[in-house]
Symmetry: C2
Subunit: 249 residues, 2 copies
């Protein structure tokens, strides 16, 4: 990344439970929103199985393509937690029992509770920096541009809060949302013209139903605040022209 290339990110959700439909992932939406606010747009996300080959393949393509990669899941004590070993393999470094991580677990668990399974959470790829877990101590880690986070949302969020100041963000994305009780089809043509006239902004159109009424939220996004303001103004004027009341949200 150089000064003229804005940073980007990918999120890799690791877990069979998300792909079986057992679990509704909530980590992507959190990371996406927080990273966007830091000027680090998430460009893609992948949900993959707890399988070494799948983890290595996804991590390798994403770390070569994006400024930052965030993985969630698979760093606990059980047999299906294989993310740390797979990341070590992806980077070609050994997975070692990390004395710093052992020390953190010793603070959290009584000696007779710190069994071999829990000590597995201290197995960290060589050369990684540990990421603080203020909830239950077992750390995540950063290796190169890859941040390896747990899957439990509360712990993942706390860990992200700790690492966020270490990220080099770009200009933050400014978003304005203008909603109206109209339909996409009724405004699609003038909306497309506004998009064409304001190429510096990205305009998204998202239908909704509120209290039984159809509506559309129009989201104008860009890093250039003046461009966002101009496009948002054009969107509001278009909605009024179409007989709808623009509601800034």
């Amino acid at each position: 990344m150089n000064a003229t290339t804005p940073p980007t990110a990918a999120v890799i959700v690791i877990g069979n439970e998300v792909l079986s439909g057992r679990t509704q992932d909530r980590n992507l939406v959190f990371l996406a929103e927080r990273l966007a606010a830091l000027g680090i747009p998430v460009m893609e996300a992948r949900v993959i199985r707890d399988e070494e080959a799948a983890i290595i393949a996804a991590v390798d393509i994403c770390r070569a393509t994006y400024t930052y990669v965030f993985t969630t899941g698979g760093i606990g004590p059980t047999h299906d937690d294989i993310t740390s070993a797979a990341i070590a393999r992806a980077f070609g470094v050994p997975l070692l029992r990390d004395p710093r991580a052992v020390g953190l677990l010793q603070q959290h668990y009584a000696t007779d509770q710190l069994n071999e399974a829990r000590l597995k959470m201290a197995n960290i790829p060589q050369g990684a920096d540990l990421l603080d877990n203020p909830v239950s101590r077992a750390p995540g880690f950063r290796l190169g541009n890859v941040f390896v986070l747990p899957g439990v949302p509360a712990i993942m969020r706390a860990m992200f809060d700790g690492l966020a100041p270490t990220l080099k963000g770009g200009p933050p994305v400014i978003a304005r949302t203008i909603s109206a009780f109209t339909t996409e089809g009724a405004i699609a043509q003038p909306l497309g013209e506004i998009q064409a006239e304001h190429p510096a902004v990205e305009i998204g159109s998202y239908p909704f139903v509120r209290a039984g009424r159809l509506g559309v939220s129009l989201v104008v996004r860009a890093t250039d605040g003046a461009a966002v303001a101009a496009a948002a103004q054009a969107v509001s004027a278009m909605l009024i022209q179409a007989g709808a009341e623009p509601i800034e949200e």
Copy 2:
């Protein structure tokens, strides 16, 4: 796919709003659960931007790798709905105004409401089969092994219900969930031994907090019901041995 290869699926969620954190995706969890019940496990999912190159790349790799591919999002009337055109490009076929789709829209919209933007929803890749939309008529479509569905969850679900009988499923996955108020670290070692002794099943371990109490859900999954029963029995016995009460869920 031949008789001995179970079918598989990938889900591609198309939409900047999911990657910006504005929208919590709810389509993957629905498709994953429904496809698993049909014996078509979702092996991976991707969330990508509304960009032609990203759509083509993801569709091409997934349709070559999996039995079925399901995309959601980007088939509405606005300028940011580019999925249909990108799928046509991926398959190397023209995107044409489809008379069948026009007829469906004519049933739904009054003549003076069926403007060019709405007619864009009748632009379908040549050779595609239409997928019925019982909610708002604008169809999805199937081209080869790729099913192109809308992003609005209620419409996507209704459309999936209609197409599901056309899928060739494999043996359905049988899952049993046994929960207990214990911790992953306390049972990880004997649980790993059970997984090793029952290689025909997949055992997942998912921690939870209920009413302030830590617990673990152990999920045993396989297509072989006898194998699932044997492994679930071993899990229950292990939990009792560990001083926890197994709760079948």
